[in-house]
């Protein structure tokens, strides 16, 4: 049979093999652990993340395995509760970026002309700024809060999805099944919804999975700079920032930093796996070049 990128055997057909790669296993295990921690933090955490009832700046040891911070709060509990702040917000952020960028990009690609020009020029405008700087500017302009940090990252994150979606839509819209639908009297919206969008979602979702790590970095970066979460909130970026103030007590900054590292790593591994599973040709090419 002719190779057809659109005729995939469903995700289930290709994933099992990809999931056996060591990186996929590592990424999957870490991600699951973090999801469980996020869900069950109130049960799992040994202390109240906000209570200041432990000795201050105690080194890691029995009773407080990750040590305590300068206010006598248990860092392990704070890192665990931090997962409840960072992970859902990151996922929501990426979902919003996909939605906004995907829809705008799909419209640009499908309708063309001035719709395309307008949307893509705005996207170029955003691309022209360094991501972090622009996010900082937006967050600072909106005022420091976690919601505003999410909005700021959304502003800088959607153009990537718009570009990818637009390119894919341009390729699909001239395909014969789309033309057939139009000849049957589909409206432009129906054609876009029924024939075009379902055939571009795969690659966009891979990009989204790869992007979860970046989004988390950016979001906690803003908190680190004081533009996101406010002090008592156990947000990882903010915790690293407070750890910088007490540099000799290495545990204060290290453990929330490790939390960020592992989550980003896990989602990058998962994204790579998903990409390889969906596009075996690229995966094979990469492997051959590596050998």
């Amino acid at each position: 049979m002719k190779w057809d990128p659109l005729a995939r055997k469903g995700l289930t057909g290709r994933l099992p093999e990809a999931w056996r790669q060591p990186l996929a296993v590592v990424g999957g295990v870490i991600a699951i652990v973090w999801l469980v921690v996020a869900l069950a933090a109130p049960v799992l955490a040994p202390h109240d993340p906000l209570a200041q009832d432990l000795p201050r700046l105690a080194a890691p040891g029995p009773g407080h395995w990750f040590g305590t911070d300068q206010l006598g709060r248990d860092i392990l509990s704070r890192v665990m509760h931090g997962a409840r702040v960072s992970i859902p917000l990151t996922l929501m952020l990426v979902a919003l970026s996909v939605l906004v960028g995907g829809l705008l990009g799909a419209c640009a690609g499908y309708f063309g002309r001035w719709v395309d020009e307008t949307i893509m020029r705005v996207a170029d405008l955003v691309f022209a700024f360094p991501t972090v700087i622009l996010a900082m500017v937006v967050a600072a302009a909106l005022g420091a809060s976690l919601t505003n940090a999410v909005l700021a990252v959304l502003v800088v994150a959607w153009p990537a999805y718009a570009r990818v979606t637009r390119g894919l839509v341009l390729g699909v819209r001239e395909r014969e099944f789309v033309l057939s639908g139009r000849l049957l009297g589909f409206s432009a919206w129906r054609s876009l919804r029924v024939d075009v969008l379902p055939n571009v979602t795969g690659p966009v979702l891979v990009l989204a999975t790869l992007d979860i790590g970046t989004a988390l970095l950016l979001l906690s970066g803003l908190s680190f700079l004081g533009l996101g979460a406010k002090p008592p909130s156990p947000e990882w970026g903010a915790m690293v920032a407070s750890g910088v103030e007490v540099f000799d007590s290495w545990w204060v900054a290290t453990f929330p930093g490790l939390a960020i590292l592992t989550v980003v790593l896990a989602f990058n591994f998962l994204g790579d796996t998903l990409r390889d599973a969906l596009d075996p040709r690229t995966a094979r090419a990469i492997k051959e070049r590596a050998l």
Partner: protein, 303 residues
């Protein structure tokens, strides 16, 4: 009474930085209701462009296409009202949406015609496929089966004109004549006209009432199938017929037509076929034969 009238149609492909290509350079053709017209010619002669123009997929540069007395409007972003023309495309792997069940795709056609009495499975049966295929996805089917499904979807819209743009050229030899005959029978049964495009004269002969031969954007000969087959008059038609292999066991190889199709961006002066024509005369290099049904100076109609 003609259903589709193509009159002096010119379709040009313009792309920036390249010369304008006249893919269709003044072609006229008519299809009546219930009539099967076969359009044949080599690759690159403009057959597909002509078919796409009839559906409104390629803009018309000059000339006109009328369907049922109304000009065919180009397919824009608006919802298409003109659903009386349906098309079956060449590539069976691109003509069905890979993400939707084939039954749903056939149901789209039924919705177009407002037919609530027919089920998608009924149409699958009519194209010779089991009823329970409706719940499957396109990747489960072979090229021939996909093309049958595409035909079912097009027919569900109850078109008055069905266009096949090389619908069999991507299929196995065994499936080719089956699918072609099926298309003919279903179109004729429903009273629709059929414009069947192919480069395979021997299949077209089986199904077409009339044959039109196209060369480099022009229709060089039109005639009754039996007549054209028995007595081809244009040298190009003669060459095409000689190029069909004969399974008669005599081991005679088909005659080759020398040369290639010229670049449509720079067609030769005079008759378009003159550089390859074995019977070329002086007038052929000078003046284009602008008449029918046989556009050849050897067959100039008496005035």
């Amino acid at each position: 009474m003609t259903l589709l009238a193509i009159d002096d149609l010119v379709v040009e492909h313009r792309s920036p930085g390249r010369p304008i290509v006249r893919a269709v350079a003044g072609a006229s053709l008519a299809v009546g209701p219930g009539e099967v017209v076969g359009l044949v010619g080599e690759s690159g002669c403009g057959k597909s462009t002509l078919a796409r123009a009839v559906c409104g997929l390629n803009p018309v540069t000059e000339g006109s296409i009328t369907f049922d007395g109304q000009p065919v409007t180009p397919l824009g972003l608006r919802k298409r009202k003109l659903t009386g023309i349906q098309m079956v495309f060449q590539d069976p792997y691109a003509s069905l949406n890979p993400r939707r069940r084939v039954g749903d795709q056939i149901a789209d056609g039924l919705r177009t015609s407002g037919d609530t009495a027919t089920a998608p499975a009924d149409l699958l049966e009519r194209v010779g496929l089991p009823r329970d295929f409706a719940g499957r996805h396109p990747h489960e089917f072979s090229g021939g089966q996909r093309q049958r499904i595409a035909i079912a979807r097009a027919l569900a819209a109850r078109p008055r004109l069905l266009i096949g743009d090389e619908p069999i050229s991507a299929l196995d030899a065994s499936a080719q004549s089956q699918v072609a005959t099926l298309m003919r029978d279903l179109a004729v049964d429903s009273g629709a006209g059929l414009l069947f495009i192919s480069h395979d004269l021997s299949v077209v002969r089986l199904i077409a009432d009339r044959i039109a031969v196209m060369y480099l954007g022009k229709i060089v000969e039109v005639g009754n199938t039996a007549e054209v087959w028995a007595n081809p008059r244009h040298p190009y038609t003669q060459a095409l017929l000689r190029a069909i292999p004969k399974p008669d066991g005599l081991g005679v190889l088909p005659a080759e037509l020398p040369g290639d199709v010229p670049d449509p961006a720079h067609p030769p002066r005079g008759c378009r076929f003159n550089p390859r024509c074995p019977l070329v005369m002086d007038i052929c290099r000078d003046k284009e034969p602008d008449f029918g049904p046989v556009a050849c100076w050897l067959h100039e109609p008496a005035t």
